[in-house]
Structures are given as C-alpha cells and as structure tokens.
C-alpha cells in the first residue's frame, strides 16, 4: 500500500475517534435517559470504526503501531481529523448539528468506499449501516428541534450557523459536497431552518492544524496511558 492509503485510513480513523470521544462526553448528561442510551450507542459505533481504521492504518504503516499507540501516543499536530469533530459539544442542538453534518458525510463516503475492495471496503461496508442510523437519528432530532418550540428553533438555527463553516473541510479534495447537500438541505427545510450561507471555511485538520479545544481533549484522553509508559491495560 502507498502512504496515501495510510494517510486516508488515519484521517478517517481520527475523525471517528475524536467524534466518539466527544459523543461519549454526553454519557450521564443526555436530556432524557432514553437518549443517554442512544448517544452511547452512537459513540460505541464510532469508536468501533476508529479502532478498525486505526488498526488498519497501523498495519499499512508497518512500524508496529496499533490502535492504542496511534490514539494515545501522538501529539495534536499528528492527528488528521477534521476540526468539525473536535468542536466542543455545546448544547444538544450543537451536538445534533455536528452529528447530522458528519454522519451524512460519512454515509456518502463509506457508501463509495464500500464499493471498492480490500480491508477498507470491508470496514466501510459495516460502517455505512451504522452511519445511516446516526444520520437518521440526527435528522429526526434536527426536525424535532427546528419544528418544536420557539426556544428549540432558535437554538437549532444557532447550532447549524455555528457548525456550518466547519463542514467545508469535509470535502477538501473531493466532489462529494453535492451529494451531501442533496441530503442535508431537505432536512433543514423539513426542520423549518434557514440553510446557512457559505462563507468562512476554516481548515487545517488534515494537515495537523487544530482548534484550541483539541489540546484539552487529547490531554484528557491520553494522560492515564501516558503516565504509565509501556504499561498494559
């Protein structure tokens, strides 16, 4: 395999890992107990994808790094995830906006990858079912909140405005934005939300340039592992 294959697996693995880490922060904090169960399911799916992708990246790299070495022993600038997934959770509306935009992107991407061959296609074939569920969960909530109370409408509109700029990075070097918009725009319309204007388009995640919120996320995620060099868990 080429280094491109490694970079690709690493980027997708990092996206899933950081999205899982953020989603898991909701545990014991969800607006309803049923939703606690649902969000934990989504976090588990994402974490499963991350483990498969990072293990595969490690194999491609051939330096003996496994999922844990890649997750716990890299610094901020070595992570290749998009900035969208590292954004703090905010309120439930922001989390659903992040999930909607990210899951639909994953769904489109994984459907494409599943059509290929090799280990990545197998990982994508499993993940595409999971991401379809995540996208549907986020869709239903976006519509409920957008078309719920005045308060929830206001929060949901604010949430998509906040997250929208970060969606551009998902499509750098790809032509999938059209397919993504074709799925996202009807959801926003159903939710009686105004589709945000394109404009500012922050970027850098794929090159290891992250937001300020990312350092604390990694510090928390990695510190126990790093405090005991070489230990097994």
């Amino acid at each position: 395999m080429t280094s491109t294959g490694f970079e690709q697996a690493l980027a997708l693995g990092d996206d899933a890992l950081i999205a899982a880490q953020r989603m898991a922060e909701w545990c014991a904090r969800a607006p309803e107990i049923e939703e606690d169960v649902a969000l934990a399911n989504i976090a588990l799916d994402l974490l499963g994808q991350a483990r498969a992708l990072l293990s595969y990246a490690g194999e491609l790299e051939g330096l003996g790094r496994g999922e844990d070495e890649l997750a716990y022993l890299r610094d901020e600038h070595e992570f290749r995830n998009v900035q969208l997934v590292e954004l703090p959770n905010g309120d439930f509306a922001v989390t659903m906006a992040k999930l909607l935009f990210f899951a639909v992107h994953q769904q489109v991407l994984y459907a494409e990858l599943a059509g290929g061959d090799g280990p990545l296609a197998a990982i994508a074939a499993k993940a595409v079912k999971e991401t379809a569920y995540h996208a549907s969960h986020a869709t239903l909530w976006t519509v409920r909140l957008g078309d719920g109370t005045a308060e929830s409408h206001r929060r949901m509109q604010q949430a998509i405005e906040h997250v929208w700029p970060y969606t551009h990075e998902l499509f750098e070097g790809s032509d999938r934005r059209g397919a993504w918009l074709a799925r996202v725009e009807p959801v926003l319309a159903d939710a009686t939300l105004t589709r945000p204007q394109d404009g500012w388009a922050p970027t850098g995640g794929r090159r290891g340039v992250h937001t300020e919120a990312f350092g604390p996320l990694l510090a928390e995620m990695q510190y126990v592992h790093r405090a005991h060099p070489g230990a097994r868990w």
Partner: protein, 501 residues
C-alpha cells in the same frame, strides 16, 4: 366488584374505586398466591402496603442505576485503552438501560417516571450509598465494578425470585447483563495485577477504598432493618441482608487471592465451624450518614442529576411540541402511524395526540414512598433517613386509576414494546418506554431492548391504546375454557395398536 367502563390499559393498575368495599376474594387470593410462591401481576389485587413497599424498592433500584452512571461516566474520556473505553461506555449505557427497565416496572404500579424522578431530585427517595464515594483512579473504576457490581449480582440473583412478576422479569434481564459488568471489572483489575509496580499499588489502594462501601450495600443487619422483615414475608426480598453479605464475602476471598490483593480487614479469616469467613462488618453509622446525604459526593451527584434534568427540559418540551404539531397536521389514514409503529400490521385508531399533556394530572405519586431503604437492601428503614410526611397521605384507589398511561417523561407518552427475537417466531412483549413519537419509540426500543442482538423486528404501540382484560373477569372469561376437556385429543382413549390418531 367487577370493573365496568372502558377497557383498561395494559399493565396499568386499574383497581376501581370500590376497593374500599371489602372484597373478600382479593386479599384471600393474594395471600394464596404468595403462600404458593406464585407471582403477582400488575392488575391483581394487592394490599396497599405491598404496593407502596414495591414502589419504594423498585424506585430506589432504578435511581441507583441512573445515579450509578455518574461515578464511572467521568472516566470514559480518560480510559487508558480504546477497548477499555468501549467496554466502559457499554457498561454505563447498560446502567441507563437498567434504570429504564426499572422505571417502567414501577410504572406498572401506577406511578409515573416523572414523579419518581421528582422524588429523587428533591431528595425524598434514595439510591445506593456506594455511589456517593469518589472514583479517584482508573483502578477505582475496576474495583467499583468488581466489588459493587459483584454485590449487586448477589443481591439481584436472589431478587429474581421476587413475588412481583414485572420486577422479576426486569431482574432476569438485568442479571444477565450485570454479570458482564462484574466480570469486566475483575478483568480490568487482573490486567493491573499483572502490570507495573505503580499499577499494582493503584489496584491495592482502590480495593482498600471500595471494600467497605461494597459490604455496606447489603444494608443494615437484619435485626435493625424494618423493611427487611416485611419484604421477606411478602417475598419481595428473598434473602436477608446478613445472609447475602456473608455470601458476598465468601465469594470475594478467592477472587482477591487471584488478584494478589489484600482485602482491608485484619479480622477476615476462614471459620471452619461456621463454614464461612469471619469478617468485620461495615460501619453502619457511616452508612446511615451517607444515605442521609453526608457522604463525600452526595451533593455533587444530586446536583449533577438535577442540572442534567433541567438542561434537558427544552429538548423534551421541543420533542413533545413537535409530536403535537405532527398529530394536528395528520390526515385520518395516518393516525394509525401515530398510535403504533409496526412492521406490516395496522395499529389501532384514536387520535395519537398525547392524551394528557398536563404533568400535574400524574400527580405527586412518588410522595407515597418513604425515602428510606434502597433498591437492593440498602439502609432500609424509616428511621435513619429524612422522610417527608407529605409522602404518607392516604392512598386511595381513585388515585391509582390516574391517567398515567400516557405521560411521564416531560410529556412523552408511554409505549409498549414487542420484539421478534428471530425469523419465524412471534413478537413478544419486552417492556415499555417513553417517547415523543412513534419514530422515537421505535429507535428507543431498538437501543433499549435489542442492543445485544435480541431482535430482528420491533413493534411499538401506545400503552393507552392497548385494551386488556381485567383480572376480575378472569373467571368469566377463562374458566369456561377449562371446562371442555373434549377439545383436547387426550380426552379420547385410543384403542391399543391403533396409530396415526
């Protein structure tokens, strides 16, 4: 005193206003069932104190599951390997699931989840005391699971034979899942025991911290526990606190040896005469203080729970508002969808709009519980804890028929869930849950009742759309069927040598 009027809701208690009129059959039938070690179903007649006692115990069990998420949840983000992180998320998720099974069980007794959560948030109902101790290191995550989930398994396995059928059914499911919690805790510690000196020190320190909180989970000694005696007589509880605590200690000793840890009790030793271990009991005064609210983390745990509930209010309201809007827009043929979500089966009629959006109608049902005792044998009496007197208002059967079939969780109605385990078999009732609409109910049902691959298809139906026969009509409806033996082939004698009949 046969009930007349509209058919009742599935599983919602429907004893009628005539309850105060002595019904000779009710108490006698109840006593006979208990004596025969048979199960009591929600719509059977039951003595009011039995019902109250059950609500107290089940509510506190449910609260313990929900509050018990907190001590571990804050370690998910720090778990030192991705596999451990996945296991911990799955475990904390199970606790939410167990809480939901148990709230649904309590709701079969005529209380709403909303009112139980109110009672928890107001401090009127308690939860297991160990939850109020801090989880300081990664090893504590394992020690908590090994010891307190181990204690919970001992307690709950015994409780699976409880006399109240919905509680027993929930416990069977919970026990099956809980043994994973116990084992992963041991596995986590076992890895530490094979690790670096620092990991082994962390392990011993955590076991030192969790041993006595785990022992205290079995509650006060039997001779000091008021609820214990009553609960045993009604077969709500099946074994005494002392017996279960002993069983737990005997179970832990060889496991501690395998982990290479010392249990922090110099008096712990095998007693050949008794055939079990002698040990130092937990400090019951400390237990009492922690249950009463003065443990290391009581305040922050409860504050967290209240904050989460308050911060989620706008979301729950939005979902209810959206469901109401959808119902209002709906065309008549789409009504079926509102009332039930099925794969290939039409649902009943009715308007699909939440029948009752006024939470007040559900009432402060939780007030009836006395705040003492905990789900599985915690400090379970009326003395050691703060008890509000408002809780002891006279219970009337009229209240019990309150319209709680619908609302509960912030105006989200209750749904019954039916799961097809595999192709070729019927959908079977699995339990209930709250959801704002049918789509949400289906998804919640999938997450709650099939997360271990238990299903290939799910039905959900609004609880208030289910018509159920009344236990009072049992004889009229079903006895005649017992009286016609000629309907069964075994009625007819087959001459010897004649086959294929």
């Amino acid at each position: 005193m046969r009930r007349r009027g509209p058919p009742s809701r599935l599983g919602r208690e429907e004893v009628t206003v005539e309850l105060s009129i002595t019904d000779e059959a009710g108490p006698a039938a109840f006593e006979a069932l208990i004596a025969a070690d048979a199960k009591i179903e929600p719509r059977d007649w039951m003595p009011e104190p039995y019902r109250r006692n059950l609500i107290r115990q089940i509510a506190q069990h449910a609260h313990s599951e929900i509050m018990g998420m907190q001590p571990e949840a804050h370690w998910i983000t720090r778990a030192p390997s991705l596999q451990r992180k996945a296991v911990l998320i799955a475990k904390v998720q199970d606790e939410a699931g167990h809480g939901l099974y148990l709230y649904a069980t309590a709701e079969t007794l005529g209380v709403s989840r909303e009112s139980l959560l109110d009672a928890l948030h107001a401090g009127r109902q308690k939860y297991l005391s160990f939850i109020n101790y801090p989880v300081l290191t990664w090893a504590d995550v394992g020690a908590l699971a090994w010891l307190t989930d181990g204690a919970a398994v001992v307690n709950q396995v015994s409780l699976c034979r409880t006399s109240y059928a919905p509680y027993a059914r929930a416990l069977v499911r919970i026990c099956r899942e809980e043994s994973f919690h116990h084992r992963q805790g041991f596995d986590l510690l076992y890895a530490l025991s094979r690790g670096t000196p620092a990991q082994r020190r962390m392990l011993q320190a955590a076991v030192d911290r969790w041993w006595y909180p785990a022992l205290a989970m079995f509650g006060p000694p039997d001779h000091l526990s008021v609820h214990s005696e009553r609960s045993l007589a009604w077969r709500i509880k099946r074994a005494g606190n002392d017996e279960l605590r002993q069983r737990f200690v005997d179970m832990c000793v060889p496991q501690a040896e395998a982990l290479g840890v010392t249990l922090p009790d110099p008096a712990l030793r095998w007693n050949p005469e008794r055939g079990c271990h002698d040990f130092t009991p937990p400090d019951y005064d400390e237990l009492k203080r922690v249950v009463a609210g003065d443990g290391p983390c009581n305040r922050e745990r409860l504050a967290h729970r209240r904050r989460v509930h308050e911060e989620g209010a706008w979301v729950r309201e939005a979902a209810a508002a959206h469901a109401a809007k959808q119902a209002a827009r709906r065309t008549p043929q789409a009504d079926a969808r509102a009332n039930g979500a099925f794969t290939g089966h039409p649902a009943g009629s009715s308007d699909g709009h939440p029948a009752n959006t006024a939470p007040g109608n559900v009432g402060k049902r939780a007030d009836q519980t006395d705040g003492g005792g905990a789900a599985t044998g915690e400090w379970a009496d009326d003395r050691g804890v703060t008890v509000t007197s408002e809780g002891h208002a006279a219970e009337t059967a009229v209240e019990r028929t309150s319209e709680n079939g619908g609302e509960g969780a912030g105006g989200w109605p209750l749904w019954e869930v039916f799961v097809r385990a595999r192709r070729g078999v019927n959908h079977v009732h699995a339990g209930s849950l709250h959801a704002a609409d049918a789509e949400m109910a289906l998804r919640n049902a999938r997450d709650l009742y099939t997360r271990r691959g238990e299903g290939v298809s799910v039905w959900v139906v609004r609880s208030d759309g289910v018509a159920a026969s009344s236990p009072d009509e049992k004889d009229v409806l079903f006895d005649p069927g017992n009286d016609k033996p000629y309907r069964h082939p075994s009625f007819f004698e087959v001459p010897e040598g004649v086959g294929n009949l």
